[in-house]
């Protein structure tokens, strides 16, 4: 019999006392969990609400946009008003759905070349946290992270939670340019920058795998609910996997 993980146990229910539907414009509600925290339990509740409402997509609903502890629900305003769609949403949110696929997600391993050359903030983070560089790498790569949300830019996956020993605040002033593939940390989160962009997170290394490719199906190697582990690789492996410094 498979072991029941605490994750699968926690939040398979969403009661009306757990959430609030707030206005988000002429054709949207945003579902807020009444407790606004980053946690696997909150992510499970959002995944549940997302699955409960997704059969309405293409019918009454135009878009569902999940985040840490909220779900944006966009409807067709010529077909429904807030008043007329709300009871349908509330009803759908009581329906039992098979959450197995969302609960488990898939396991994704992302290779990372950690070094002072590829991760310009590695030494600074180690110094600030009283760790050796190898300890920072070991901590970052030994944790399994959940994909809580994808947003900001296509392929930017918010991964959590970063071990407390590595938690560092954002840079006081963002870098004008963070390279594509940069593996970065801020607060209790970590992420891989899908494309070169400005950014205020601390850079630990580089990942040679494209986080977003519009010409591939699927376009992203990870999805919300997946579990991600970073695997340290050498510079040589990085180059062999198509990475460019």
């Amino acid at each position: 019999m498979p072991a029941v993980t605490p994750l699968a146990n926690m939040a398979t229910r969403l009661t009306p006392a757990d959430y609030t539907l707030s206005l988000a414009g002429e054709n949207a509600f945003i579902l807020y969990l009444n407790t606004q925290v980053i946690s696997p339990a909150a992510a499970q509740q959002i995944a549940l609400a997302n699955s409960q409402l997704s059969p309405m997509l293409g019918q009454q609903l135009l878009e569902l946009l999940p985040s840490y502890a909220s779900l944006l629900i966009v409807f067709n305003p010529l077909q429904h008003s807030h008043l007329s769609i709300k009871p349908l949403l509330e009803q759908a949110l009581t329906k039992a759905v098979n959450l197995v696929s969302q609960q488990q997600g898939k396991q994704v391993e992302l290779p990372v070349w950690y070094s002072e050359q590829s991760g310009p903030d590695l030494a600074k983070v180690a110094q600030d946290k009283n760790l050796s560089i190898n300890e920072v790498i070991a901590l970052h790569s030994s944790t399994s992270y959940q994909v809580y949300a994808i947003g900001f830019a296509p392929g930017f996956a918010y991964l959590g939670e970063l071990p407390e020993q590595l938690a560092v605040p954002r840079l006081s002033s963002p870098r004008p340019k963070v390279p594509a593939g940069a593996v970065a940390i801020a607060d209790r989160q970590t992420a891989v920058y899908p494309a070169a962009s400005p950014g205020g997170w601390h850079l630990l290394g580089l990942c040679p795998i494209a986080m977003f490719n519009a010409w591939q199906e699927p376009a992203m190697p990870v999805a919300v609910g997946d579990q991600v582990k970073f695997v340290p690789i050498t510079e040589r492996d990085f180059t062999l996997l198509g990475g460019v410094l």
């Binding site: 988000a24 414009g25 002429e26 985040s67 502890a69 305003p77 947003g151």
Partner: protein, 305 residues
């Protein structure tokens, strides 16, 4: 960005309303017909000429191979829409043909100069680009009569102050009554730091009782209030998630007007209920339906005479 002009452009050439069009800023575009086609130009105020002869905007025009259509520099508004019967054929990405320059998605697809196997998308149109039209482009006969100015003038703001209707929502309750009053009573000006992602407005700074928010989904027209208190209305190319407090959303019909507003345009906010917003959308849809039916029918009748 300006849904009113976008839909009218398609309606005038007999297209489904969400067919692919060209959105053109500033003016100065010259198009050369390679095959017979019917097109219409709507949106910004501009001088339009067909083979050197002035022709009106907001009406269907027939072009023969070799014909030249020239759009002058805009005298009002920021965006013109050019629709061609059958639509412009570009491969959809993520279900859309829209060009997103920031992410390099959508629009015309070119092969990279240095690597023919690499695709480049999400780029501006360039001189000498060939725009593929639908193979089965049906000739419509809606040429020959342009729309009454009442219909076209209202989508040319910039000269007068705009009033944007706001549906309060998101973190509205975290803004005090005093901050909300300041927001609705004071004028704002469109900042030059405005683009397809969002329109930044300068004016009386307003403050929210919280700055700590988990990133959450941003809907069209959301009014984000960053720590400097200057509102940003988030439009078509907005980020999908964000963590700044939002006081509510601008009604889409008014976002379309805002998208035509040049920097310096005066803007006022006024609160409306969700029911009033819903009524405004229903009225606009009914009116658009009736007006497109009548004017497209009138145009084709005059053509047959």
């Amino acid at each position: 960005m300006d849904g009113h002009s976008f839909r009218w452009a398609n309606a005038l050439v007999g297209n489904p309303l969400n067919s692919t069009v060209i959105e053109h800023s500033v003016g100065g575009l010259i198009l050369l017909a390679q095959s017979p086609c019917t097109l219409a130009v709507t949106g910004a105020a501009l001088a339009l000429s067909h083979n050197g002869q002035p022709v009106p905007c907001w009406q269907a025009l027939h072009l023969k191979p070799g014909d030249e259509l020239a759009l002058g520099i805009f005298s009002g508004g920021l965006r013109a829409y050019i629709a061609v019967t059958g639509g412009i054929q570009v491969p959809p990405q993520f279900g859309s043909s829209a060009t997103v320059m920031r992410e390099g998605i959508g629009g015309l697809v070119r092969k990279a100069a240095d690597n023919p196997r690499q695709h480049l998308a999400g780029q501006k149109l360039q001189a000498n680009d060939l725009l593929p039209l639908a193979t089965a482009a049906v000739q419509v006969t809606a040429a020959g009569s342009s729309l009454p100015t009442e219909l076209t003038k209202r989508s040319l703001p910039g000269q007068t102050a705009l009033t944007l209707r706001v549906i309060e929502g998101y973190q509205a309750s975290l803004f005090s009554a005093c901050q909300r009053a300041r927001f609705y009573l004071n004028p704002y000006q469109v900042s030059p730091q405005s683009d397809r992602m969002g329109y930044k407005l300068n004016g009386s700074a307003i403050h929210c009782s919280t700055r700590q928010l988990l990133s959450e989904g941003i809907s069209y027209g959301a009014i984000q209030i960053p720590p400097d208190g200057q509102p940003i209305v988030l439009l078509n190319d907005r980020q999908t998630l964000g963590g700044y407090p939002k006081i509510g959303n601008v009604l889409s019909l008014d976002c379309w007007q805002l998208a035509q507003a040049t920097p310096g345009t005066e803007v006022h906010f006024t609160p409306v209920s969700a029911e009033q917003a819903h009524n405004a959308l229903q009225l606009d849809a009914a009116r658009f339906e009736r007006e497109t039916t009548i004017f497209c029918a009138l145009a084709s009748a005059s053509q047959e005479c």
